[in-house]
């Protein structure tokens, strides 16, 4: 990524890429964005948000790290196989609606209950959540796979 930009003729970028401030801030911001993304994902059923936005923001957070560091450094920081993320996401997105059939519901009829936990209080349990998690994982995995592949192609 860094050298890609450099070779493309953007020499002034090079200085910024080693910017300690950027690297430090991006590390902090990464967790903040990630928290926000998870919040959006889990609250999606009640307030704006959901799997798509959550997934996209998560990948945006990781892309921020990518900009601040390098593809190789990033791979060391996050040793995740993104293909696996896509596969498990698709599995969830297809498996949950299919799995519901085994419990006697028609295909794609979500079920929900509410349980009460000691500290957190009443919590909704919803079969749509694992489905949305599948969407989250697929979106996140695909986006990151694309950007890292393209960005890291020549590094």
């Amino acid at each position: 990524m860094k050298s890609a930009l450099k070779r493309a003729g953007y020499k002034q970028v090079h200085k910024q890429m080693n910017d300690v401030h950027l690297q430090f801030i991006s590390k902090v911001a990464f967790f903040i964005i990630l928290l926000f993304a998870f919040n959006l994902f889990f609250a999606g059923h009640y307030t704006p948000g959901g799997g798509f936005v959550g997934g996209l923001l998560t990948s945006a957070a990781i892309v921020l790290l990518l900009i601040a560091f390098d593809v190789k450094t990033l791979k060391k920081m996050l040793p995740i196989r993104f293909r696996l993320l896509i596969a498990s996401g698709l599995f969830l997105a297809l498996g949950v609606p299919t799995g519901l059939m085994f419990f006697g519901y028609p295909f794609f009829t979500h079920e929900f209950t509410e349980i009460t936990l000691p500290i957190l209080g009443e919590i909704g349990l919803h079969s749509a959540t694992p489905f949305d998690l599948g969407v989250f994982l697929t979106v996140c995995g695909s986006t990151l796979l694309i950007i890292i592949l393209v960005g890291g192609a020549d590094d």
Binding site: V53, G89, A93, H110, G134, V135, L145, L149, V150
Partner: protein, 805 residues
């Protein structure tokens, strides 16, 4: 779900088991595992005969897709049961025969899977009551026939024949589907039985006649009637068990079944009756005339099959008259009974003859009649079977072919005497054609016996001929035995199966009480016709060298085969040319087609329907909206003008972020969030791609090129504005979203409607969207890896790096 429902799909289920058995059991011929399946089915079907014999029918419902009226309803009456027994019975014998015929080296698994598929398909055709299901299984028979003809895929003739049969029968199948849809439109049902009871709706010149023509096209293509018979001789490239089974005993009779089944539906249509009668007779004469000259034994039998099918078809035509004129009239019931009887007889003698041909081919290595001769002493058992079945085919007493042939002649004489006003002058043609066709039938039957088994031994055969093994002989022996038994005691069949089948063809209620006898007295014209056929046939055979030259006048150019080949050839050439004319390979051309069509369609629709705009119900405009519109327009303008890719991408980002703000103003928080995130990621992606892409984003373009683009672009913009405005002004329906709003909490326990719609109400959309996203990701991965692998200075380390992603 009763056993009969299960029996239809039993072969299909067995096909899976066979695949497993094939994998784990070696050494035993796969056919032995297939054999029990048709046997079980035929045994079960025999137990149903007593029910049918009493004149009862069975209707067993099973819902499949009730909302569109497509149900798996089994209806068993005489006709269906007769065909089902033929299918499974001959199927048993054919499987047995194939064990001897096909060696272990062949692709046995494929063969038996196709064969089992065919069995299911055929049972479905004859036992189901629903026309849509009938169509489904009908096409399945075409497919399995295609696969079986092309069984030896490396032979060019096989693939040619397979393609030909596929094209012709599928064409017919589509036509038939059209006919069925018309019929269901007229009668309001997809069930054949209900169609029969509503048959008075199927009248009139327009739709009724069209339905007749379409359904007949299906039947004629499948049953290889003139002029569609051309596929059947080429289908003989299939292994002989297949020819015996599909292309003589069962599949080609599906057309006959269709005609027989729909006779009561079309009972008021004269088109139906006369078309079937005349086409049947023409087919009979033309095919038997052609059969005599063929040199390939299987080709002789193929044309013979075509002509026999024509014979049965013409008899069914007369049965149609029976329904029109009332079932009590003697002549018509004779025709119906003859048709049913001949279906059985033909299956027995032609099935046996095909198997005999297969034995000859197997034992001598050739099917060419010229190279064969004097096999009588070498293969006595085969000879006996060939003699019996050929005599039956020629209509010589006392075999079963004689009985049905005589009834056929009788029916033809009766119809020429019958009081049809239109027939006064041409009525004599019917018995004449029948006799001519029968003479040629006699001739080719004689040819088979005389030139292969009698005469000198030629010593030209590739293999030293010897009698076949018992495994090969047993199936044709059983069929030959049936030929003799049915010939001597025809009344074994009448009560049990012929009468019920005939009754269901003409939709009769009272039992027919048919008696088939060998002797009708000297007054019977059919007797004299038989004598004439034998005498003239023998004379013509003896003096064959003197008249055989007439075949030379039939040039290749005038045959239907030539027409088919040339037609296919030119269709290929012209469609290629047409495609090349339109498909220039230049992306812009295609885009111009698409957008140009949109513009034309849009403007034509607007002109025809007129614009009806209504702006009374608009939302207020805020100052912030106007600013955003301005931003978008300016960014757009810059994108259009600029040559720098950096600027255009930044401006694209500006458009995207403005859109996100629009979503905020228009109270769509989810959209705004998603748009923001997407825009960030997209811009990053564009920037990442920078290194690889050329600096120049705008290529020099000619003025004319630009002008065309500009006109198309303005047109598309204008059309979409007009469509948008008129769609906004005229709301035809209330929005369905009220349902989602009302039930978002009680049905889905959520509060964010957009998200609930995405994951619950319209979850299918989301699943597929996720799939698209995943596919895009994997596609990009593949594309990038291709790039990496193509480079020569690729380092292993880097590859390992990539694979970790």
């Amino acid at each position: 779900m009763t056993f009969i429902h299960f029996a239809i799909i039993l072969p299909l289920i067995a096909a899976f088991l066979i695949a497993i058995i094939h994998k784990y059991v070696k050494g035993i011929h796969l056919g032995w595992f297939v054999l029990p399946i048709p046997f079980i089915i035929v045994s079960y079907l025999f137990t149903l005969i007593p029910t049918i014999r009493n004149g009862d029918t069975l209707l067993l419902n099973l819902n499949f897709m009730p909302r569109i009226g497509m149900n798996y309803d089994v209806y068993i009456d005489g006709l269906g049961l007769l065909f089902a027994i033929l299918i499974s019975g001959i199927g048993t014998l054919v499987v047995l025969y194939s064990i001897g015929y096909l060696s272990q080296k062949e692709k046995l698994l494929n063969f038996y899977i196709y064969l089992l598929l065919f069995m299911t398909a055929m049972l479905g055709v004859v036992l189901l009551d629903n026309v849509l299901m009938l169509y489904l299984f009908w096409e399945l028979t075409s497919i399995s026939s295609f696969l079986l003809i092309a069984f030896w895929t490396t032979k060019e003739r096989s693939t040619y024949g397979a393609q030909k049969s596929m094209l012709i029968t599928m064409f017919g199948g589509f036509m038939m589907l059209g006919g069925f849809l018309l019929l269901s439109n007229l009668t309001g049902t997809f069930s054949i039985r209900e169609m029969i009871s509503a048959s008075d709706q199927v009248t009139g010149i327009g739709a009724g006649t069209l339905a007749v023509v379409l359904v007949l096209l299906g039947a004629f293509t499948k049953s290889a009637q003139f002029p569609f018979y051309v596929w059947l001789p080429d289908a003989m490239e299939a292994p002989t068990p297949v020819s015996a089974y599909l292309h003589s005993a069962t599949m080609v009779k599906a057309g006959l079944y269709l005609v027989a089944r729909f006779t009561p539906v079309f009972m008021l249509s004269t088109t139906w009756v006369w078309t079937i009668l005349i086409v049947g007779l023409i087919t009979l004469c033309w095919a038997s005339f052609n059969a005599f000259i063929k040199d390939d034994l299987k080709a002789v039998l193929a044309f013979s099959t075509v002509s026999q099918l024509g014979l049965i078809m013409s008899l069914l035509g007369i049965s149609g008259l029976a329904v029109v004129r009332g079932a009590n009239e003697q002549i018509f019931t004779v025709a119906v009974v003859a048709a049913v009887f001949h279906i059985i007889n033909h299956a027995t003698f032609k099935g046996a003859l095909f198997m005999v041909t297969g034995i000859i081919d197997h034992q001598t290595g050739t099917r060419s009649i010229k190279k064969l001769g004097g096999l009588m002493t070498i293969m006595p058992i085969t000879f006996t079977m060939a003699l019996v079945t050929s005599l039956s085919m020629a209509g010589i007493p006392p075999f079963n072919g004689f009985l049905s042939k005589e009834m056929f002649l009788e029916a033809m004489f009766e119809i020429s005497n019958a009081n049809f006003s239109a027939l006064a002058s041409v009525g004599f043609l019917f018995p004449l054609l029948a006799i001519v066709g029968s003479i040629f039938t006699f001739l080719y039957s004689a040819k088979i016996v005389m030139q292969i088994f009698l005469g000198e031994e030629t010593k030209e055969t590739p293999k030293e001929p010897k009698e076949a093994s018992a495994l090969l002989l047993i199936s044709p022996a059983i069929l030959s035995l049936l030929v003799v038994v049915f010939g001597l005691f025809p009344n074994l069949l009448t009560k049990s199966i012929i009468d019920p089948a005939a009754m269901s063809i003409i939709n009769a209620v009272e039992p027919l009480n048919t008696k088939i006898s060998h002797w009708h007295g000297f007054n019977s014209p059919a007797l004299w016709a038989t004598i004439v056929i034998i005498v003239v046939g023998a004379a013509l055979y003896y003096f064959r060298d003197t008249w055989i030259f007439i075949y030379k006048y039939i040039k290749d150019k005038f045959t239907i085969n030539y027409l088919y080949d040339q037609g296919l050839h030119y269709i290929t050439i012209y469609s290629n040319r047409f495609t090349r004319m339109l498909m220039t390979g230049f992306l812009r051309t295609y885009m111009v087609y698409i957008f140009g069509f949109l513009v034309i369609l849009g403007f034509v629709t607007m002109l025809r329907t007129g614009l009806n705009l209504d702006f009374s119900n608009l939302a207020p405009i805020g100052i912030q909206d106007m600013i955003l519109v301005g931003v978008i327009l300016i960014a757009l303008g810059i994108i259009m003008i600029t040559k720098s890719r950096m600027v255009s991408i930044i401006m694209l980002g500006a458009v995207g972020f403005s859109m996100a703000l629009f979503f905020v103003f228009f109270r769509a928080p989810d959209l705004a969030l998603t748009q923001l995130a997407i825009e960030t990621v997209t811009t990053t992606l564009f920037l990442v791609c920078f290194y690889h892409l050329p600096k120049q984003s705008k290529l020099p373009e000619k003025r004319k090129f630009k002008l065309t683009n500009f006109i198309v672009a303005v047109g598309v913009g204008a059309v979409s504005i007009l469509i948008g405005l008129s769609a906004f002004s005229n709301r035809l329906f209330e929005s369905i979203s009220q349902y989602h709003i009302d039930h978002v909490y009680d049905l889905a326990a959520g509060k964010n409607m957009v998200n609930v719609i995405l994951v619950d109400f319209r979850g299918y959309d989301t699943v597929f969207e996720t799939l698209v996203f995943g596919i895009a990701g994997i596609g990009i991965y593949v594309l990038m890896r291709l790039t990496i692998n193509n480079r020569k200075d690729d380092k292993n380390e880097e590859r390992a790096e990539e694979s970790r992603l």
